[in-house]
Symmetry: C3
Subunit: 431 residues, 3 copies
């Protein structure tokens, strides 16, 4: 069998896109099966419907075979689940009922700002049903009697998620999460799991015996991450020093992240550094949160986790619509996000907190790391970045802090630190 | 007898306005008598003239029966104390002397920027005498000989102040001070004591068994507050967690406060939060201090106290003039200040430092505190404020900190916190 | 013999300017001899070539008697060392070789932005040779054969520096450094040592028994300061609470300093306060460092030292050229820098951390330090600065912190503090 990274990220995404995922059910299982196929490190966890997790209760398992609206006069079907799984409101209870158009209309959701797109709607925590249509299609529904048909089940079952731990020399963990509960939308959210598994693959290949430990979680959003936190609370709180939730990481429009509540963790610093030199990069306050950072950063959990995005959820027009597809998400978009995460992992493994080995500035000249003739420079000194990194290599500042202080791209900082390590000028003061 | 709050605040103010107050003397006594009538909790303290308090000495007691200037040619009287007690320089020694106009002129103070207003002048710490007139009246004094007449006494006596303590479950105190040494001016300063006694009444009625203790002090400015601090130093330093000095709290022009020296106390946070959403709200640095915050915040005393004002002393044209009257001070002005203080008291009593009871976000939907169908929102999410409060309810942030972080009016924050407490989602982590 | 300050600073500078200084050799010796003549406190230290200091090695000793280029056709000499010692690349090895113009040209350095000026070039750490000419003179060299002649030696010898310690009541030290390795340039760098020795003289005369200890170092730049740090590491790290490196302190164009790496030391505060009210004052981030602050502030050394400059090195056009002469450096320029340092020393000796003796505001009026009649002020209150200083005299804030908080010139703050000390209102809480 091929390795995960032998296949293009966009092809993984396209393979998984059609599956109808939700908080629970077959879609989640198929999706996790797929990733577990590539990564034996991923272990499946199942929690029974009705089980309590903190303030929440695991919901019934939802499965769906088919759904549509049928005009009983013409036999024409609309909002066919088999054409697009967004047509059904997520977690709709089963229905098979004759209904007149005006009553039916109240159960049909549309977008008022884009008449061609189908919205994505769910009703997880109140038993109900509904359909989603484009505004245009809804307006074109002929008068008459209809059948509303949803062949779904809501039964005792399980909520499932997968998690992996790659053990390193240190028990301190870098943590990555994403969610596998969204139906056919590309950026939000098949992109996150796709990139998460790429990171997992990268670490396995690149770092046979990593310095730090790496934990991964693929969960249904909110209830899934809450269940995961409940199960792993002690370990997460004790060990996670840096965490990333991946969401909407497949487009090419920019880079962004949601700061932790107090914008004061190594994760904030890491993502801030990652964005140096990138076009259309933006930081959002925790007040603009909206993904699983809501759980990981909640009071009492307090994991230093940021959500990393390309275009932030809610900030791009295709969000939560049928237009969140492969016109928006590209292989380059996914690769660029993967690249950001790889660079951060490399920083941890290379030496998170560089420490000057000898006091005072080292003599770079004797190692051919500095011009030997002193000439009045024009512009930036050729060894300036190198010297600046050393000036802040006190064993307390992280590589990220240093990059942010000197405002040099993280890749350049890494290449300088690599050189300085090779020359025995700095060493790593591990966290 | 009626309760204090049964009478309109403006009527209390108008009742006390005519009294000639100063650092000491009958005016102070009458004023304190009035408040003690309503509040048996207020205890009177007397300190003898000549007694040392820190670097100061209690001054002689000053009393005055009458004062005027008389033109000896016409018998016409000017600057009559009985018409306006501002006409006499505060703490003037007795005088009864014939004097020519040009010599007399040097003892007459006016305002050069407003020809109709009488200035307010004192000579507390050097025995002297003088009159205050409007610029216009001074210019119209006819030539001739005059009698300068001040029927005052400066004798061994007492400086007096009143203080109250309402004991709560905690010994930690919220402290309110104002001063009762200003003659007939409305904003500066009968407004402060008026509102202070309203707060005292409010706490007594609203909180039979309050969580926190509440201390109140009505003192002559500077020397009075210094004497009070000397007497209560240990208790104040040990117990006061939040303090407010009230001055110029009766006009309707805006809201302001003077920050503590390092702008880093719960009081700064409380007043900052109180001003969210208010028009013409302004913070002043401690460098712009000028009321009794000068003593309470002095090095070695270090009480976390801010002076709260509507228009700040010194920043409105009528300040320290005869125009500081009931054209400026209104019942609404006083009530609005009272409202600010009530809201702050309510925050302490409601639960100063909200703490999420269970980890992760609570499930608001099952309590009907969250919409159950997820639709892409336009504008602010209906439960956003609720969720934002919870995101910062870590038992360390005060309600004020939270309001400042999310920039939502304190009243709205209080109503949300009340709801969340009722639903057993948060509890109070008392200071 | 006269005292150092009996001679004008500019005359000291002009006396030392002609000497050909470098990292090592006779020029350094003569320069140190001169200063030691005036200051018996300065002790000479010698370190052998080849000795290891941290990551560095003491270089060979360089001495030079003569150097020039001679046109063998005309006998005309160019780039004569005896006319200007900048003509020879510093640390050039001996050479005596016939050479054609085009080959010679590659060993001649010029400035491309100013055709009249000779650049200053060194080749400390790679054995090489070269000449420096003005662009104009280089372009005018006639065709033909040349002799390149440098009568220098590079031999085992010593690196030398001098250091002094004036012991005070406290072992805590204020430290001053400058460097004595630059040939004939006035601002960078004979100005620094000139002013440093003025401070030494000032302290000796002004403070017979100073509160704090004062340490001084005159070293060759980089390798010299590294050798000095190596020798005195323990003492410096234990005792130095505030340090200044003096460089380019002789012009009249402005004032500047280079912040410590985290801009958070008493030295940053001191220089910031010194610059209040000065024209053309500028702070530079540590990222713009370039003098011996590079060593003193390096990780593991961590001395709270800033480099103080008038025009910062590298920021004025004459820097590292023959135009860095006495058109640029003036007696007033040197004196003004001396004045800044004197004021800082005075702050330490006067009482670095003023502490209010009695609680609450002192009664300034009874000491004639406050107007006794209260009149509504226009503009700044006459005693405002005095009161503001007291408001922050908590025994933790330094005089510099206070000046920065209230934004009043340090000299004015000192005069107020002097008055307040004389009146027993504040005392010194020594560091």
């Amino acid at each position: 069998m091929s390795h995960y990274l032998d296949i293009k990220l966009i092809d993984h995404a396209k393979h998984l896109y059609p599956i109808c995922r939700s908080l629970t059910g077959e879609g989640v299982r198929k999706t996790l099966d797929y990733f577990e196929c590539f990564h034996k490190e991923l272990k499946r966890y199942k929690i029974k419907s009705g089980e309590k997790v903190y303030d929440w209760e695991i919901p019934l398992e939802w499965n769906i075979k088919d759904a549509y609206i049928e005009n009983l006069d013409t036999g024409q079907k609309y909002a066919e689940f088999k054409r697009n799984n967004l047509h059904v409101v997520g977690y709709s209870k089963p229905i098979n009922r004759e209904i007149d158009l005006s009553t039916l209309s109240k159960k049909i959701y549309t977008l008022n700002y884009q008449e061609e797109w189908i919205p994505y709607i769910t009703t997880y925590y109140k038993q109900d049903w509904g359909f989603c249509l484009s505004e245009k299609d809804k307006n074109n529904l002929p008068e008459g009697n209809y059948k509303a048909f949803i062949d779904s089940t809501l039964k005792e079952g399980y909520l499932e998620y997968s998690t992996a731990l790659i053990k390193g020399k240190s028990k301190k963990e870098i943590f990555f999460s994403s969610y596998i509960c969204h139906p056919s939308m590309a950026n939000n959210e098949i992109s996150g799991p796709i990139v998460l598994c790429a990171i997992l693959d990268y670490i396995k290949k690149q770092y046979k015996s990593p310095k730090y430990s790496y934990r991964f979680a693929l969960t249904p959003e909110t209830i899934g991450s809450i269940a995961f936190i409940k199960k792993f609370e002690k370990k997460l709180k004790k060990n996670v020093i840096c965490g990333f939730n991946l969401s909407c990481v497949g487009d090419e429009r920019g880079y962004s992240f949601v700061q932790t509540p107090y914008n004061n963790t190594i994760t904030d610093s890491a993502l801030r550094a990652s964005l140096i030199g990138k076009n259309n990069a933006k930081e959002y306050s925790f007040l603009e949160r909206g993904s699983d950072e809501r759980q990981y950063c909640s009071p009492g959990v307090d994991i230093p986790l940021c959500t990393f995005c390309k275009s932030k959820f809610g900030e791009y027009p295709e969000y939560h619509t049928s237009a969140d597809n492969f016109d928006l998400v590209t292989d380059k978009g996914l690769q660029d996000s993967f690249e950001v995460m790889k660079t951060i992992v490399d920083c941890f493994e290379l030496g998170l907190r560089p420490l000057l080995i000898k006091k005072c500035e080292p003599q770079l000249g004797k190692r051919n790391l500095y011009p030997t003739i002193s000439i009045k420079c024009e512009g930036r000194h050729p060894a300036q970045t190198r010297m600046d990194i050393l000036a802040y290599s006190n064993g307390k500042n992280s590589v990220f802090d240093i990059a942010n202080t000197i405002q040099i791209e993280l890749k350049k900082v890494i290449s300088e630190i690599t050189l300085l390590k090779e020359n025995n000028i700095i060493k790593d003061n591990m966290l």
